[in-house]
Symmetry: C2
Subunit: 297 residues, 2 copies
């Protein structure tokens, strides 16, 4: 997905919020904002938004020497989500359709995104999560179920800390023997890294790899070899969050995108209202599905 | 009021919205956004936000040759407000406290601000206006009433088209013989100019002047002589909207600011929640009031 002009105010806001996370020094806040303005004035809009966000956060890290500004926020959201986990796991296990419920909860967890809203509090996230199951799901869990059942090798792309605890509910239902979970290769915003996968207990139940990149999405050209092999070898990819959607929506792979629509540009791109909870097969996935259906007929 | 770093994403958004108002040419949208990014990267933050917004809109006008992009929107909001006028005027006249009700309605009208929300629809504005009288007023109408009663020469600074029809309800209660109403000197966003004062019928009941400037606020150094004389000669200034507040909040004049808090930076500055309806005396006005009270004792 290319970067829209509408993304630019968001980059500036995100840079400022990140700078405030790192330091109280208003001089650094101003320097970073001015640097972001200069850089975005000349930027190549054919890049995806996460690629540009990645550059901004690299600047901030080099300006301040702080490598993981969102560290405490990530730990706090992991704790919040873990406190909810046991109850949600029991409710999911005893529900009439555990896979469907786990999909809904995994998408609900995508609200924990400090890239879109850097001032999101635990109370706000908690309130949103408490109402998550009332949200209608835009997408077909029957298609998703078929894709999961026929897959032998699933690559699950995590998105954010905190959210990754909700991902565990879904990972448990996919058949953990066939799942590899991938996290970011380095700290970026509140995106999940290997530490968050460990905190969520995911390292104990599935193979976890990092993608070798510090982009808040999956920019394949920036990812490491191990991840690229896993991506190429997966027969189903489950992609969480807007950042992964923005970077992978044009890929010719069998992907289901699970995310909450959190900005008007994405809403416009997918043709669904802001706030929608989305389970969306990739173009290639849809084509493959139609071919399989035809073969059956 | 200085420009906060938080204002910058808003400038970029506003520039893009304004560019889309003017033309469907994506090349011009991109050129304007890049120009705004370059200019804001080097800008002097000690200027007020309306001064910077003014520069951005001058760029857009020179780039496109379109002098009044918001013209149709202004006409539409004037029509909407005029359709509500008669009913509101009757309700105000027959209310227990017409001045208080007129103040509340004038502040409610401040929701019609395409600078803060360029996609505001008539239906959204109408819904907000319908609920306006339920909004609590942050401020003391008793102080305001005293100031109006003791004033001999009131300068009323209008803000937006549409809103100016609601201002008429208040102007009618101030004693029209002692009121001069000022509008912007040229088109900027959906701010009211002389055409809107005419459409609202205000030119028939009070003296109307323009301020000689195309800033979306009152930048005294940019205003014409006639306006500056009126400003200096007024013993009470009634200032509508955030833009006038941002540009006049540090002036040593007897001002009442009437506005709806529409952005977090202003909310923070005045210490009131976003959405508040505010009736706020200037520092100089408060000092003068205290002196008068002491003289009475």
């Amino acid at each position: 997905m290319h970067t829209a002009l509408e993304c630019i105010p968001c980059f500036v806001r995100q840079a400022l919020e990140a700078a405030r996370f790192v330091t109280d020094d208003p001089g650094i806040h101003e320097r970073l904002v001015r640097e972001v303005l200069r850089a975005t004035a000349e930027m190549d809009l054919s890049q995806s938004p996460p690629m540009i966000a990645c550059r901004i956060h690299r600047s901030l890290r080099s300006m301040t020497g702080v490598t993981d500004p969102y560290n405490r926020a990530k730990e706090a959201f992991n704790r919040m989500a873990l406190a909810m986990y046991e109850e949600l796991e029991m409710a999911t296990a005893s529900s009439a359709d555990p896979l469907d419920m786990a999909v809904r909860l995994a998408i609900a967890g995508n609200v924990i995104d400090l890239g879109v809203n850097g001032t999101l509090t635990e109370a706000q996230a908690r309130a949103s999560l408490d109402n998550a199951l009332d949200e209608p799901l835009c997408g077909d869990t029957a298609d998703f179920r078929r894709a999961v059942e026929s897959a032998r090798n699933i690559l699950y792309l995590a998105d954010n800390a905190g959210e990754i605890v909700f991902d565990r509910l879904l990972v448990e239902r996919l058949g953990s023997h066939k799942v590899t979970l991938a996290v970011r290769g380095g700290p970026i915003l509140n995106d999940a890294t290997i530490d968050d996968a460990k905190a969520a207990g995911l390292c104990d139940i599935v193979k976890v790899i990092d993608n070798g990149s510090d982009a808040p999405g999956t920019v394949l050209g920036e990812c490491g070899d191990e991840f690229r092999r896993a991506f190429a070898g997966a027969d189903l990819i489950i992609s969480k969050g807007q950042g992964n959607f923005e970077t992978l929506s044009d890929e010719l792979a069998n992907i289901f995108f699970l995310f909450k629509v959190k900005c008007p540009t994405i809403a416009n791109h997918v043709g669904l209202p802001l706030g929608s909870h989305v389970l969306l097969p990739s173009e290639a996935g849809r084509m493959r599905d139609e071919r399989l259906l035809k073969e059956r007929v």
